[in-house]
Symmetry: D2
Subunit: 381 residues, 4 copies
């Protein structure tokens, strides 16, 4: 694979590389790691790449790689740049014939996202979005439970994603660097907190329950003075079919780390999953002892077992979940490269449609909040 963005010091680029590399089936061979060509070269050297394949611009990279013989060029590119460049980079590589793995959110605006969908459809390339939290085996197990009817009809969903790192910035200013571009509307888009992590919570709800939002009433807040975008948001949600929900995300929940949690309640049972303790999934129902399903056991669904690398209670974590997205996308890409048909059941990675749903989420909550926290319908197009 090739990579755009993710040079020295970039957290998410390093995660993508570890995730891609973990199973020994994907190799990084080319990249444009920075908009600064010198930094890009240095990063390439860090990764032991052939200097000839470390590029100064992504356009040059797309061109040069496309000019290589098919068995030498990259099969796909991994895009780990900031939100406002996803569209252009993805479009360039798709049109140059490459498959794409892209960090979330999909792009800068939903309108851009709709255009990108056209490009994906037109080129027929694989497009995967790294909504990595759905890569956890026990999240897959949760989805299987819902699909199998173990919870009955879903009536209530609570998804929460409180973090506290931005509050530290308030006091110490030392996190300024981290949170900088996410708070810049020119780079991040119309939302910081809801775009960065609210979308993960929403994606998790969709993935597990299959429910689509019908209307949202959202109140976004900016508690850290001087910031142009939200650092906290609370949403009431009405889902198609009558389920109700709460989705909230925050970066000023002092002392919380990466506290993404979901609870789903149905007529036959409820489930509960906590990202900070990802190897467990709780099943609850009235009049039965709660049962804690644990990763790596033979009693789990095939989907959960297929996304596991170590035996029970040899904990797996964030990188392994991320690697599951890469593995599924990598399989689809390998099939496409080899001209194999996709399996009947399809592949299990987030697609352009998931990315568009994320953009719809961002734009709907911002619209609702700006209107004073009124109900806003989900866009239909």
């Amino acid at each position: 694979m090739g990579m755009v963005g993710g040079g020295r010091g970039a957290f998410i680029g390093a995660v993508h590389r570890m995730a891609a590399r973990l199973d020994g089936e994907i190799e990084l061979v080319a990249g444009c790691f920075s908009s600064d060509p010198a930094k890009s070269k240095l990063s390439g050297a860090d990764f032991f790449l052939d200097p000839a394949r470390v590029y100064g611009t992504y356009e040059e990279m797309a061109r040069a790689e496309a000019a290589l013989p098919p068995d030498q060029r990259i099969d796909f590119v991994s895009i780990v740049t900031r939100n406002n460049t996803h569209f252009a980079v993805a479009k360039t590589f798709l049109e140059a014939g490459f498959h794409v793995v892209c960090d979330k959110p999909l792009c800068f605006t939903r309108k851009e996202g709709l255009k990108l969908r056209e490009v994906v459809r037109r080129t027929g390339r694989v497009f995967a979005l790294t909504h990595n939290y759905t890569g956890y085996p026990m999240v897959k197990e949760a989805r299987e439970w819902v699909r199998a009817g173990k919870l009955g009809r879903i009536i209530k969903v609570v998804a929460e994603y409180p973090q506290g790192y931005a509050i530290a910035a308030l006091e110490t200013a030392r996190d300024g660097a981290i949170s900088n571009w996410r708070m810049d509307p020119q780079v991040a888009g119309v939302s910081n907190c809801m775009g960065d992590i609210g979308t993960h919570a929403h994606n998790l709800v969709r993935y597990i329950t299959g429910l689509e939002v019908e209307e949202i009433c959202a109140e976004l807040s900016t508690f850290i003075p001087g910031r142009p975008l939200d650092d906290d948001g609370n949403c009431l949600v009405r889902f198609s079919g009558g389920a109700k929900g709460i989705i909230y995300a925050s970066q000023v929940s002092n002392g919380d780390e990466n506290n993404l949690n979901i609870r789903v309640y149905g007529t036959k049972g409820g489930l509960e999953w906590h990202q900070e303790n990802p190897n467990e999934l709780v099943f609850k129902r009235a009049d039965t002892p709660p049962a804690i399903s644990r990763r790596g056991n033979g009693y789990l669904s095939a989907a959960a077992q297929a996304n596991t690398r170590t035996p029970f209670a040899h904990p797996e974590g964030f990188i392994e979940a991320f690697a599951n997205v890469y593995r599924a996308a990598g399989t689809a890409i390998a099939d496409a490269v080899a001209g194999r048909k996709p399996p009947k059941a399809g592949y299990d990675f987030p697609t352009i449609e998931d990315g568009l749903a994320g953009m719809a989420f961002i734009e709907t909550v911002v619209k609702s909040s700006k209107a004073g926290a009124k109900w806003v319908k989900w866009p239909r197009d």
Copy 2:
């Protein structure tokens, strides 16, 4: 003390008696335990009462007890009847010169509550409401933290109270008896779920943070077909001073038991308390390990220590917390009976004002929900 309601088989009456009795300072000596005089008599026998002081109606009881010499009659009455009778019973005893301990919610409507406040003010009697969850020592500790500024300025509050018992009724109908009167608008008032447990969540927020609601946007739902009142409700909350919050309660959260939780986030730190694990209170802040304060330790505030009966890790629970309300109210009553002045710091039990705030909560969320989940201002009078 005397008791109105709470005869054979009534859960909450038994809890009140255990709570009152625990410290050996309050003795049940009279009662009207049922609107059915025969059942009242039988209940009185269960409790080893003098049959002469087991009454057929609460009016008779108030009259007869008031006619006894001061050193023989009850000092106060504990009212554990259904919501729609609280007002009349409380008024009767207050006007007959007795102090009152009353189960929550305060009464049937907020309007009734305002009238009751007049009676309390006029008679000068002690009136305590058993919002028992604030009786937990670690809840008192939480309040002390907020008061001492340990959390800084509060910016976000999340209070949740999911239960699942009503879902069982859906499937088995066996809980019908339990949930019956709470679902009857003639007895329970305008809300079931929010009146029964939502008020506890709201009361907990007020008690710990001292924040008052400014506006609420609430959506109540009835998921169990055929029920005239809500069994679930989600609220966005704006507090005076700018804090934001979520309060939700549910009786159809399948598999949850009595899952009352609160998280409070401030500029300097956050706290977390779980009613199902009540002996612990978590303090969190960015860049510091979370610290778990535990009941019974010398490092706790005087308020927490004063409300504890056993050493650390000899767990205390629901009854002990309930007993703390009785103990505080009992102290106030004993002071009043003895003609002692209240201590400067006052007493620590829920009052008529807390009851009125609860009625305001119920009526505001119902009003908001009926308007389609629009923002509704908190009543000011």
Copy 3:
């Protein structure tokens, strides 16, 4: 009931009174609360007793109470004095015709205990020992599981009871008062830590599993300099029938509070219970998700349900468990007083036999440890 010991400031006396009082069926009416008659009188006043029934010595109390008409005198006495006086006090009251509830350990030496058993047998009175941890509903549930064969044949047991309070004494000396008499061989007997809490761990193992010890290899230690008795002990255990186990207790496990835990493993399943989280009981077996049974639910055994006072997730704790011992003993005493036959299933409270097993435990571990941690057979007589 009457009480011997437990005057002002005595922790365990207060617990006994709350436990006895909780259900409203036992009333404290007489006592000798201190070896100092003046202090005894003051304590009696604290408890609102008739001064005529507050005695200066336990011998006087036994005599005077026995001289009262049957319907006025106490039915039983609760003994909460120090270990070295249990025997004399219990013997006196048993021989005066009273039933006895006695704090653990049974007495000063096992030899004394054997004599006391003779007295109990001879007088035919009810004798209950407050091994309170077996009063927890979920401990009763655990026993039912073992009895019902849910775990199969038991092969391994691990019971641990680390506390850390004595370490604080090392540094601050402020706990001196608390730990004083327990460290005095003239008062406590041959062991401090193993006698005080090791016996609880051993009793819990016996109660849940029904297993009897065959041999023990124990190493007791005294980590706090200058103390004449043990403050820590580790034991390997061989049970009759082939099961193996570990029992350990400590009062110098810095930072632990009252961390009594038990795990029992059988051929068909395992269970786990933690005293600090007493409302849950875990069932585990290979290839099945662990299931967490929770107090107050309809799916529990009759024994667990009968020992519960509040609905699920209205936590119960230490006092309620203690009260279950009193309730069971109280039922036996009431039956005896009324001349009713015991129920076929018997009563569920710790007896003189449990007390003797506790004395055997203490003396065996001390013997083993003194021999350099060699295997010592369980006494058979």
Copy 4:
């Protein structure tokens, strides 16, 4: 690197490869993956290796790799074969000039281990043993606490490692394959359970506390009929300097998965770490709220931070910990290859000395148990 053992289907070989690969600094380029040359070839193809460097025997591999030019041959070999072959394979590669990473236990007997130490000393090559549990960042944090005196003088250690997988074999026989060779004394050595996992618990104690065993009293058991080696073992331990401890391990603890836990108690504080929840480390002391240090935070020691790849609450697990051993060993090997001096602080990976301590543990507990669970001195040579 090259690999010996770990062909298709071998769990631990796959873990070693993922761990080695994770950071992108170690590449598998050669191997002898099975004693069956055909299977070795197939495995090599799975790993995309040059068929010329997939060997039929480890001797051939050592010879052929040594014959390659220095910049083309492997730098080190990773040995993931069964216990009884570690010695011969390691000796061969060390003497051929290669550095070695070896799975634990070190070898078949302690005597073999002493010989191997001679080879390591003589050749001057790097020798790392994958006691992977010490690779967890929070285990490193724990060691730093002890070193910094945060716990004071250590007085008590409890290390436990219950698993239950072997009990399933009893009932279903389906785990036969997994547990087969470990139960074969010709392959595994004198112990199954204590050799396989007891050594991990012992290693963890040594790593964190720095304490060395002085004497052990151990009772090993075989609960699964027909097995020639132990499947459970309980040990009392006396450490140099006066600390006491318990170490136990089991593979028949029904329902436990990989439940390695350690508690260390000192005069100033205690710590607690649970492998199944590896991102947290608890600090406890009397009179202070327990504090939960969490991986990825700035408040941790440099050692903990240097062994972390993702931000706080993006959970890391078993593979990442394993990769930390590879990373540290890889650094040492890279330094050796490049002729750089080791850093003053040395490297942080388990060495031949740790391996010998493990062999001493195995042989001491077996000796003690065979003598009827008597105290046996730790070997000194």
